[in-house]
Structures are given as C-alpha cells and as structure tokens.
C-alpha cells in the first residue's frame, strides 16, 4: 500500500486543476445534479402512485428494470447518441437514482397508516392537505432511506464520468491505471469511499432535522 499520492500536499491545492479537492467538487457537482433531476422526476411520480394507489406496477417494474441497467453501458450509448459532454453523464446517473427514490416514495406513502388518513379526512382536510400535512411527513423516514440509498450509489458511480473525458474522482482511478500509478488509484478509491460515508452522514443529519419528532423510532 502506497499512500504517497493521497498524502502529498500538492495534490490538495484547491486552486490547481485536477487536485483532489477540485475533483471532489466536480464529483459532488455531478452527484447533486443527478440527485436533483432524479428527485424531480421520481418524487412526483412516486408520491402520485403512493397517494392514489394507481399504477403501482409502474413503480415496482421501473424500479426493478432501472436497477439492472449498467450505468457505464448506458453512458457509452448516450455518448454515441449525444456526443461528449455533461448531458450523457447526467442522464446515465439520473437513471441510476430514479429507482430507489421512486420505489421509496411509493412505499413510504403506502405504509402510512390508513386510519390516520381517514382521521385526517374526517377532520375535513382536503386531499392536498392530507398529502402534504399527513401522508408526506409520515412517509419521510422511508423516503429518506431511498434518497440516501440513491445518493450512495451515485457517489460511487459518478466515477464513470471520467471515462468520457469529464472530471470527478474517477480521474484518479482512470488516469492512475493508464500510467500505472497505483498510489493514485488507491487515493481515488479511498476518497470516493470516504466521500460516500460523509454524504450519507450529512443526509442522516438532515433527516434528523426534518422528520417529525413524533415519528422517531418508528
């Protein structure tokens, strides 16, 4: 094990292009964009299916099919169709994060105790109020689980961006392999793993802040 690449201070200079902090920023950039687009697509669909119970087979099948798509293969296909750039990478990573977000949104909504929903209706809440004030807050713990799962996957997989000429921590892995610099490959692997743990801890913290105290432990 050779940690020299990881411990060299020159590789931690934020102002240098290709330095580790720089690559972490671009890596987090791809991750956040993929999570944002994934959530924009999957959350409304998942909530609708969960709230109405209509089309649940879509949620289940899209979840299963989406999980089995190889991201690198999809990325190469997108690059062939669209050319190089950020767009093919974002599409491939967004497809990766949709299944966990979609299925957890659906499952979270379905798991809300129907008696509570009935009680809310009985108190005169409108459907929109039932959704936003009762179902959504109660579904949050499960939905967060799916979101964290998706975030972990995308942090680990965003390394593929480097295969098509973009940045991110995959640069350390791919360039390191190309020039037989295993110290660099090791640095990339360690930083990706550490980043995945940190992102998950950060999301766990957010979860503690936004989930209603009344649901803790459930």
């Amino acid at each position: 094990m050779n940690f020299s690449y990881l411990t060299d201070p020159a590789h931690w200079d934020l102002s240098a292009t290709g330095s580790i902090p720089n690559l972490i920023l671009s890596h987090l950039g791809y991750t956040c964009l993929a999570l944002l687009f994934g959530a924009l697509i999957a959350l409304p669909v998942g909530l609708y299916i969960g709230h109405t119970g209509k089309g649940s087979f879509i949620a289940i099948n899209a979840g299963n099919a989406g999980r089995s798509l190889p991201t690198l293969g999809l990325l190469m296909l997108m690059v062939t169709l669209l050319g190089l750039g950020l767009l093919p990478v974002l599409i491939a990573l967004t497809v990766l994060v949709i299944p966990p977000i979609l299925t957890s949104a659906y499952a979270g909504m379905r798991n809300v105790d129907q008696r509570v929903v009935d009680a809310a209706r009985g108190m005169g809440m409108r459907p929109w109020q039932v959704l936003t004030r009762v179902e959504l807050p109660m579904a949050l713990p499960v939905m967060f689980g799916g979101f964290r799962n998706g975030a972990l996957q995308v942090v680990a997989t965003a390394t593929v961006a480097a295969a098509v000429g973009l940045g991110g921590l995959g640069r350390l892995l791919i360039d390191g392999l190309a020039v037989n610099d295993y110290s660099r490959v090791l640095a990339g692997a360690i930083v990706v793993a550490a980043l995945a743990v940190l992102v998950d801890l950060f999301l766990a913290l957010i979860q503690r802040l936004v989930v209603s105290p009344g649901l803790k432990g459930s």
């Binding site: 390394t159 360039d175 190309a178």
Partner: protein, 304 residues
C-alpha cells in the same frame, strides 16, 4: 468502483492464464531443409500476428521450414522466448523495442527511424540481430478531421501552434502526462491546446469524438484504419517528437542465413504504413483470416 475492481481482477486472471498455458511448451521440430528452419513468434495483437504470418509465408516460398508460435503475449514474455531459443524470429517495432531494452529509457533526442535503429543495434540481446527496417510505422500521431485540416491549412504539427489555443484535443488519459504527449508538444512545438479530453487510447470513443467534432485533434495510432475510413488527416511530425515505430524483423543469429535475410528484407522493402493499415483493416474490420490476408499481401507485392 466495483467495475474497476472487476476489470482489474479479470486482467489479472487473463495474465495468469497466459502465464500458465505455455504456448512454447512443445519444442520446434528440428529440420534439415535446405533453406533453413525458423520458428516465428508474435505478440498478442492482430497487427503483430499479421506481420508474423507475412514473414512466415515469405520464408516458406523461399523453401525455409517455418514453425508458427503466434500470440505469445506481451513483449516481456516473447523476448524471453526469443532469448531462450523457443522462437527465432519476431516482428518488432524499433522504438518500442529500444525502450524495452534500455533500462534507463530511450536516450534524449533519439526518435527518427535511423537514430532509433542505430541505438537499437547497441542494446540488442546477445545472439540476436535485426534485419532491414520497413517504412511501415505504428506510432502515436496527432490526427485531425479533413475539415479542420483544410480550414486551418494544417499539414504538420508545427502548423498547429497558431490555432491550438482554439482547439480541443483528445486521446488516452496517459497522453496528458507523457513526454511523448502534451509535455513534449509544448516543449518541442510550442503547441498548447485549449483543452485536452482524456478518453480512450486509440479507441472508438476518441474516433467518434473526432468524427462528431467534440474534439478537433486526436491522438490516434498510425495504422488505425479509421483514419482512412473517415478521411482524417495525420499531421506530420518533422521534429520527431513521437519516437519512430518502424516494423523490423528481430531474429536469432543462428537461425539467419542469406536466404532468410533476403526473404525478410524483401518484405520490409514493400511494407508501408498505408498498405499495412489497409491489410490490417481486412483482418480487423472485414474479419478475414490472417493467412488469407498475408497471402494477398505477398502476391499483390510480387513476393510470392
């Protein structure tokens, strides 16, 4: 991550397979044929096998008894086989062979075909020699689309200097850090690109990026048939930044005689980068049998 680990594991397994299944296990049959007897080896990629087959057939037409031991592996493996006598002839590339035989790397300034050959002759393993080198080269190039070449009037890498700051280049990730890459381009030619996209070395991603205009300059290898197919223009390298990689026969002295030398030198005299590219494309693109393509090369060049 998982994928990269799997790829590494697979590569290791493959290497291990290559090491265990010894392609040199059975000894070459001794032969008393009048023209001599040669065991021809090759590296594990199609171009090397095609060249080895061309050598083999050229020798056979001169009455030499040929044993074929192709697809041996990487240079480390087949050079050992040559030195221990399990093979006696190999198609080689002068620059890459020189680099492999020079423990301290290729001396600075040695990159033209003649300089490389002269240097190579000093470091050859005992009991081996090289014959005449051909004009055919499989080396690093900077290649542009026909449109870019016409628009900017590009013929050589020197012409790039003025326009490079507006162009995006692409190729293998290792090109960014090698002397025979972006570093040398800056030092020798003063060429600095607007951006370099690390893609795949001489691979389909780089070719399609150049075709689609995502990059304007690509680091491709000179015998890549996609250069001809897509009418790309390979820029000349007048200052010899990229070490020459001429195809050259490397032979054990004991297997050589005037008949063998004559046959192999005649092949070297006919090989050019252009014809090697087109015959190689018959193997790689048209999926023709190597023996058939080698035969066509010899008959079309008056060597059979």
């Amino acid at each position: 991550m998982k994928r990269i680990v799997a790829a590494v594991a697979m590569a290791l397994t493959l290497t291990a397979c290559g090491a265990n299944s010894d392609p040199l296990a059975d000894e070459p049959a001794a032969s008393g044929a009048a023209g001599g007897s040669v065991t021809v080896g090759s590296a594990n990629f199609p171009e090397s096998q095609l060249l080895a087959e061309i050598y083999s057939q050229a020798l056979e037409t001169k009455g030499v008894t040929v044993t074929r031991k192709f697809n041996i592996g990487a240079r480390e493996v087949y050079l050992k086989a040559l030195q221990d006598g399990s093979i006696s002839l190999l198609p080689e590339y002068n620059g890459a062979l020189l680099a492999a035989l020079s423990p301290n790397g290729v001396p600075a300034g040695v990159s033209s075909p003649d300089a490389v050959l002269a240097e190579l002759k000093k470091v050859l393993p005992a009991g081996t020699e090289v014959l005449e080198q051909s004009a055919a080269e499989d080396k690093d190039t900077l290649t542009v689309s026909a449109e870019t070449a016409t628009k900017n009037n590009l013929k050589t890498i020197e012409d790039l200097k003025a326009v490079a700051p507006t162009l995006i280049a692409g190729g293998g990730p290792e090109f960014t850090e090698r002397q025979q890459g972006l570093k040398g381009l800056k030092e020798v030619y003063g060429v600095e690109f607007k951006e370099y996209k690390p893609l795949d070395p001489g691979g389909p991603l780089t070719v399609s990026a150049l075709k689609d205009g995502d990059i304007q300059v690509a680091n491709l290898f000179s015998t890549d048939s996609s250069i001809v197919t897509n009418k790309f223009v390979t820029l000349e390298d007048p200052k010899n930044l990229f070490t020459s990689q001429n195809v050259i026969p490397l032979i054990r002295t004991e297997a050589n005689n005037a008949n063998v030398t004559g046959a192999l030198n005649a092949v070297s005299g006919k090989l050019t980068t252009e014809n090697l590219t087109s015959y190689l494309a018959q193997v790689q693109v048209d999926k023709k049998d190597i023996a058939v393509v080698a035969k066509a090369f010899l008959s079309e060049n008056g060597l059979s």
